[in-house]
Structures are given as C-alpha cells and as structure tokens.
Subunit: 309 residues, 2 copies
C-alpha cells in the first residue's frame, strides 16, 4: 500500500524535481556559510588547519539533509543553516581524526593531502578538537528564530551522535575489527549505524527538531535517515571496489587490501547494490505521507544509490 | 579601600570556614556524580578508557569552582552538579589529548599511567573525543531546574573555552613555543590564559550563568577567576621546580629539562610566588562585595598558593 503510493508519487513528480540543480544550489549556500564560519586569528596555523579540512569540498550531504529536514517540517533554510554548518564541522572533525596515523592512516581525503600530512599530527588532533568544540558554540550563537528548548534538543542529539553512543563508538569497533575475518553482519551493522549512520540520522532530525515537530514527523524522518544511512555505506563499500582514484578522491581498493569485511565482501557487489536499492525504496516509502514537501529528501535518497563518489 | 575590606573580612571569617572539610565534602559529591555519569556499554574498551581517566582522582577544582560560583549567585549544588561533571569531562579530554605522543608525550598523569599507555594511542584519541562530545549531552540531559536560555549560554561559554579561542588555542601556542628560548611574557600569558585560564574562568562563570545573574555578579567573578587562573599556573610552574614526584603525581622538573620558558624561569621562584600571592589577593578583593556568600571562593583562592600539588 505504502509502496504503491511511492511509485505513483515517483512517476508524477520525479520529472519535475531537478535534483542536480537543487543539490548544486544548496551546496553553494552551505559553502558560503562555511567560508564565513571561521575567521583566521592567532594562532593562525590552527585556524588554517581547521579551514583546510572544513573547506576541502565534499558533497555537503549532512548540511543538505539538515536543510531539507527543516523545510519538510515547515522551517526555513535560514533557521537551519547554523545547524547545517555545525554538522559539517563535526563531520570534518571525525574525518581528520579518522585519517590520523594512529587510526586509518590515510594520506589523501577528498583528493587532497590529509590534515596531518600538511600540518603535522599534533595540529591535526587539535584542529579536530577545536572543530568539535566550536561546532557547539557556532550552533548556539548563530542560530536565530529557534526556541531555546528546541536548540537544546539539537545540542543533545548532536552530542549523542558523536560520543561513544555514536560515531566514536562506531570507529572503535571498526578499529577493533581490523584484520579480523570473522566479523558478522551484526558487528558490521553496528559499525556503520554508529560510524556514519548516527550523524546522518541526526542531520535530518536536527533540521526538524529546530522547528519543534512531534513524533508523527520525527519517526518517519528517523526511519528514512537510517535506511539511507545504511544504503550510503553499502554503496561506499561498493565504490571502494569499483571506483577510481579520480572518482573517489581517495585511494580505492583500500578495504580489500586491508582484508576488511564489508557489505560486498559478505554479499557480493550485485546483491549489495540490490539491498541498497531496497533500503532507498523503504526510505522513500516512509516519506510518502508528506507529499510534495518530501520531494528533496526523496530525490536525495535516489542520489545515494546513483552516485559514483 | 577594597583591600582593607578584604583584610577585615579575612581576619573575621577565615577561622570560621574549614576549607579542608569543604573541599573534601565537595570532592566526594563530585566523585559520586562522576562515578555515575558513565556506565560501561559496548564497545567496553572505549567506556573503560573514558572512565579510567575521568575517575583517576585529581583535585576536581573545576567542578568545585562551578558549584561555588552557582552558590554565590544564589543557586544550588543540585542544579550545578551536571555542569560541574561536564567541566571535569572536558578537562579530562584535554589531559588525555595533551599527554599523547604527538603532543607532550607524557607517561604519567595523576600518579597513574596515561590513557594511551594503557589503551593505545587510537583509543586514547577517541576516548578524549567521546568525553568532549558526551560532556555536552550530559550537560543538557542531566541539568534540571535551569531555564533553557541559561543552559544555552553555558553550552556556548563551555565550547568557547575549549575551541581555538580557548584551551586548544593555548595548547597550539604552547606546542609552537617548545624549545624556543625567546618566548616573551605576552606569549606565556596567552598560553596560560587560554590553556588553563579559559576553562577555570568558565568553571566559576558557568555556575553563576545557570542562575541567570547579570554583569554585576559575572564581572567580579570573571576577574576573580582570571586572577586565580594565572596564580594557579604560576604555582604549577613553581611546583614543577620544587615538588617531588610523590607530591605531584607526575614527573617533576619536566619544564626545566625541556628548557621551557616558565614564569619562574622569567621571574625566579621567589618573585613568582610573590606575584601569585598578589593575584590571589586581587581575586579575593573582587569578591569582597559579596560578603559571606563568597567565603568558599575566597578560601579556594588561598588554597591555590598554599597547595603543594
């Protein structure tokens, strides 16, 4: 029943919504806001290091999901932009720390040298720390037109998505699983629902929380976000096997070289793509009840499986 | 004039306030709250690593300052205890990261092996990250009886004290100054007002901010906190030269061995002690107007210069 609605909706609306133009406009708005979010001061090397990674491009998927979540809930781009920037600061903090020699030891990210390759390990650790802390200050100081109680909920939700209950917990299990061949699907799911899923879900939900909606809006958005979060990761694993350095902006084949258990290593590439597609379909079905207001989130869900980087 | 008031106040009250008992009671309350603040879950190693450093003892000066600041402003211990714990989580995060091989490379802290010596560098970095993020969640979720607007101010103030504008900025300048002999007093002051001063000041102010007081209370508290923060650092530098491993719980003489410019290396030990005492006197003078309500903060100021660790 729900699925039928979705397909009807798709057949009517999909041609009228220009996702490419939408993403491009949102990305420009987010880039402009991020560019202004950090002004260089003393000690310059720290601010430069923060800006180096924050402004290194990327899809800006988390900010865009936040803005879309806020609009679906009846809010505006203006009220959600500080939260959108906050999400990207937090995401960037996690990338800088994940790339460190003591962690994944990556030399390239988004086609550029990683933060510690440019600024050294000590500054990279501190730039990550500073971005994480500043994210919360920026959120509180810059957000306008949002009730204090709603903003507090966003603070708590964001922090929960980063801490041991979120991306840091996921990264720990990922590190502990390194080199192990007997990782089961539950562990793999734990890693990804925490390492990437938690912040993706929070991206969509935080936008809606700013507006102050109830569970009738929050629960479908949460299910939507969990589904696309997992689909996103499956496709990431697939792209690591099938993408080129140029497409990915990072070294491909890393997972296989590290003999890492991934979704395609458990399911194969085709089955992985199929499961990702099913997750995307479920995600879209969750939002069918919102009609036209959900068109950007619907289109973003499709983009997850269609992307090449 | 102000000084006269202070000395009159001291001569009357100092005998009636038992600082040792006060600090001991507050420390017990803080320890109990910290003990309950983090429950071990999966992945256990991460939570254990967080608890290892958070519950490693220490003076709990920041939480105690927060509780005292809140009481001076007319609030209760109950309403400030989550903020107090948050401050200690943030302080602990900064210690774990400062001790890393890429930073100060310390093997001991508070008389115990540092976090990375026990759990490895990767877990130590992530435990620090998780403590920093969780601090904000804990603050928002656990604080009761405080207006949302006031709590948001505390979130912003805390984040500002950690980011590039606070302790991370101070740590960067400290790292950049390593091995340099021509560090001037302005740079040394920048390091310490940021690396330790910002969070100490925020400790006192956050307690008062929870209550929602105006600048007539906040400004004297801010001056008080800045003065004792600097005095605290001067005494720390002095203790590094004069203290024993047993007293300090860490290797003494580290600054001299690293040829680090410190207050006593610029001023000598006696002059440093004298300046610290003057700062403590000024700090106390700032609070004279609050009368008996300031007795705990007054006594804590005295403790700064009298301490041996």
């Amino acid at each position: 029943m729900v699925n039928t609605q979705v397909f009807e909706w798709s057949s009517v609306k999909e041609t009228t919504f220009d996702l490419k133009a939408y993403l491009s406009e949102r990305r420009s708005q987010v880039e402009a806001a991020l560019e202004q979010s950090i002004t260089i001061a003393y000690p310059e090397i720290l601010y430069e290091s923060m800006r180096y990674s924050l402004l290194a491009g990327g899809k800006r998927l988390r900010p865009i999901l936040c803005l879309a979540g806020c609009e679906l809930a009846g809010g505006t781009v203006e009220m959600a932009m500080p939260t959108a920037c906050t999400l990207e600061m937090i995401h960037t903090f996690s990338l800088i720390h994940d790339d460190l020699p003591a962690m994944d030891n990556d030399d390239y990210r988004r086609g550029k040298l990683t933060n510690h390759k440019i600024y050294g390990e000590n500054i990279a650790i501190l730039a990550g720390d500073a971005l994480l802390a500043y994210a919360f200050e920026f959120l509180v100081v810059q957000t306008k037109g949002v009730a204090a109680q709603q903003l507090l909920q966003v603070v708590a939700k964001l922090a929960h998505a980063v801490a041991a209950t979120g991306l840091v917990g996921g990264q720990v299990v990922d590190l502990e699983s390194e080199g192990l061949q007997n990782i089961d699907i539950e562990t793999l799911n734990f890693i990804h629902t925490h390492k990437t899923g938690a912040l993706l879900e929070t991206s969509v939900l935080s936008g809606a929380l700013l507006v102050g909606v109830d569970d009738k809006v929050l629960l479908p958005l949460s299910h939507y976000a969990r589904n696309i979060g997992l689909a996103f990761q499956i496709i990431d694993d697939v792209l690591d096997l099938t993408g080129t350095q140029e497409e990915l902006g990072k070294t491909p084949g890393k997972d296989r070289k590290a003999q890492k258990v991934t979704y395609p290593s458990l399911w194969g590439i085709e089955e992985s793509k199929l499961k990702a597609q099913k997750l995307v379909d479920s995600a879209k079905a969750e939002l069918a009840c919102f009609g036209e207001k959900a068109q950007s989130l619907m289109a973003i869900a499709d983009y997850i499986t269609a992307r090449t980087h």
